[in-house]
Symmetry: C2
Subunit: 334 residues, 2 copies
């Protein structure tokens, strides 16, 4: 790369204007004549100028960086996380921001540290638990934050997520409409429910509530992720619930195992058992047969989270809760 980097002063000299004029061209905070603007922009591109991020942060009290706090714990669905992360980065770039990656290893310390050192302007947190230790911290942090997922006590926070309760209900409605009157939900591993992770519980609640609404019988079970455990769960289910003809799977890692188990138990999908998955589209499409699914709109959630956090940075009031409507896609399995 061409030697030392170009400063705003060199741009100003090259364009024959004051340093402040260059700054105003860039920020648009004062009117600059079209002619001057063009001259400055030309110089910028000729010299290949990029503002020094640190200097900018120091003078403007904005780093133009947001922190993305990922958990990375047992039982989490890593591919989904990655899609969120990617969506957040892409969305942040459209607002001219970059993304600093924080993992949970540092716990609340990391959040405090990057906030206090003005490294980031705002936070996006993923995989929030019902009783999350980071929540009280965020509440009295000066920097705005947005949670992906809902804690038990979301007062004073901005949260965004798929409406999992609606997703669970939609699955029931879909199966009920096709005449299934005895169905089951296979959910996350037991440990995820015990930890109180919101999305797993909310799906189950939506599922259970909808059973009553539709006059359908059914059960909701946790579901581990090894083939043998899945097999046992499915076998037990078919044995204990004789009329069972519909299955909702809300566990990306177990989807494949469930299908294998059914195959091995001699049940055809969808003739003997209809299956709906709550999972990303590509997983549903890749299964055999392709699964009717309620997709987890990772990109949309990530984008929305960034939009909200940018609103807050701009001083606008953000809604406390944003629930994205689930979307059921019919495929070959129902």
């Amino acid at each position: 790369m061409s030697g030392r980097s170009v400063t705003i002063a060199e741009v100003a000299r090259h364009a024959g204007v004051a340093v402040s004029t260059v700054s105003y061209v860039l920020s648009g905070k004062r009117t600059i004549s079209a002619d001057t603007r063009r001259r400055v922009l030309d110089s910028i591109s000729v010299l290949g100028y990029h503002p020094h991020a640190g200097a900018r942060a120091l003078a403007s009290k904005r780093s133009n960086v947001i922190a993305l706090v990922l958990p990375l714990r047992a039982g989490m669905h890593v591919p989904v996380l990655m899609r969120f992360a990617s969506a957040v980065v892409t969305a942040a770039r459209t607002f001219d921001h970059d993304v600093l990656l924080l993992t949970a290893d540092e716990g609340t310390h990391g959040i405090r540290r990057v906030a206090a050192s003005a490294l980031v302007d705002a936070f996006v947190l993923m995989d929030v638990e019902l009783d999350d230790r980071r929540v009280p911290l965020l509440r009295d942090l000066a920097e705005p934050s947005v949670l992906i997922g809902f804690p038990a006590e979301p007062a004073g926070l901005t949260c965004v997520d798929l409406d999992f309760a609606a997703a669970g209900a939609q699955c029931v409605a879909h199966l009920a409409a096709r005449g299934h009157d005895r169905i089951a939900l296979l959910g996350a591993p037991a440990v995820v429910y015990e930890r109180g992770t919101g999305f797993a519980r909310r799906t189950r609640e939506g599922f259970v509530a909808a059973l009553a609404d539709h006059g359908v019988g059914g059960v909701a079970l946790p579901c581990e992720e090894t083939f043998d455990e899945v097999y046992e769960t499915v076998r037990g289910l078919l044995h204990d619930q004789p009329g069972l003809s519909g299955l909702v799977v809300h566990n990306e890692a177990a989807v494949g195992h469930v299908l294998s188990a059914l195959r091995q138990l001699g049940r055809r999908v969808p003739q003997d058992v209809a299956v709906i998955a709550i999972c990303p589209d590509d997983v549903a499409e890749r299964a055999s047969p392709p699964l009717t699914s309620v997709l987890i709109p990772a990109e949309e959630v990530g984008r929305e989270a960034v939009r909200l956090v940018m609103d807050k940075l701009a001083g606008k009031v953000a809604p406390r809760a944003t629930l994205l409507t689930p979307h059921l896609v019919q495929r070959a399995s129902t």
Copy 2:
């Protein structure tokens, strides 16, 4: 959070020393008496001081941030990527650095941008292709970089990766030692080979070379990731290669499908067909039966990449290539 943030000047005043003294206590670049040091550190902790990252970057020409450039393309193993990412963040923190997340969406632009704006000091790139567009850019960037994976032309670069050729060879050796004399490698989807991704090809080369060394017959096939395609591939394989008794699977997403397919085709593992996977440990353990595997040491690779990039930042010369020795773990499938 307590009002406006604390500056070094306030710490200095509180401790009764000069600003520069506080700075030297923090950086250790000049000797400070034990007594003064203690007083300063006390003031720092009493006031809750955190240096302003931007100011520090401006004055010292170091941001203490490294960029992690992730691809996120079709056919990639997202969970593995995430482990790398997590390992890189954790390792970076041990060197008092943070991690900025860059995705490939911005292409080489993003790299150029964050380098020019002094947002980051160095780069760690993941999932490098044999013919990677980012490679020439990195080569004449002033900022140091480390690649995870190998491009075709690694001259002038520092690369680190699992020794996939050795991994492929180890699998062959393991199976040969158990008396299998006709084996097959099921690899990544065809598109990954076509793109020239290094790890897929190198595994295959190691596998093929080792066949000859051990006097074992075998074939290497790409492997798609839907159940139906995997099933067809396995069925075809068993049909075309009558004596086949060993299978090496280097495709995390297909591992489960391969086992299901074998089950469905009436082959027992390991009695009829021995299976080795090249994949992270948890995938191998979760399979049924648990698979003998060569693990992909994501944590170790990430840590090593960060160590190398820190060495380069410190002005030490880093080795051009670091290949981590694969480790085969025997489980129930061979």
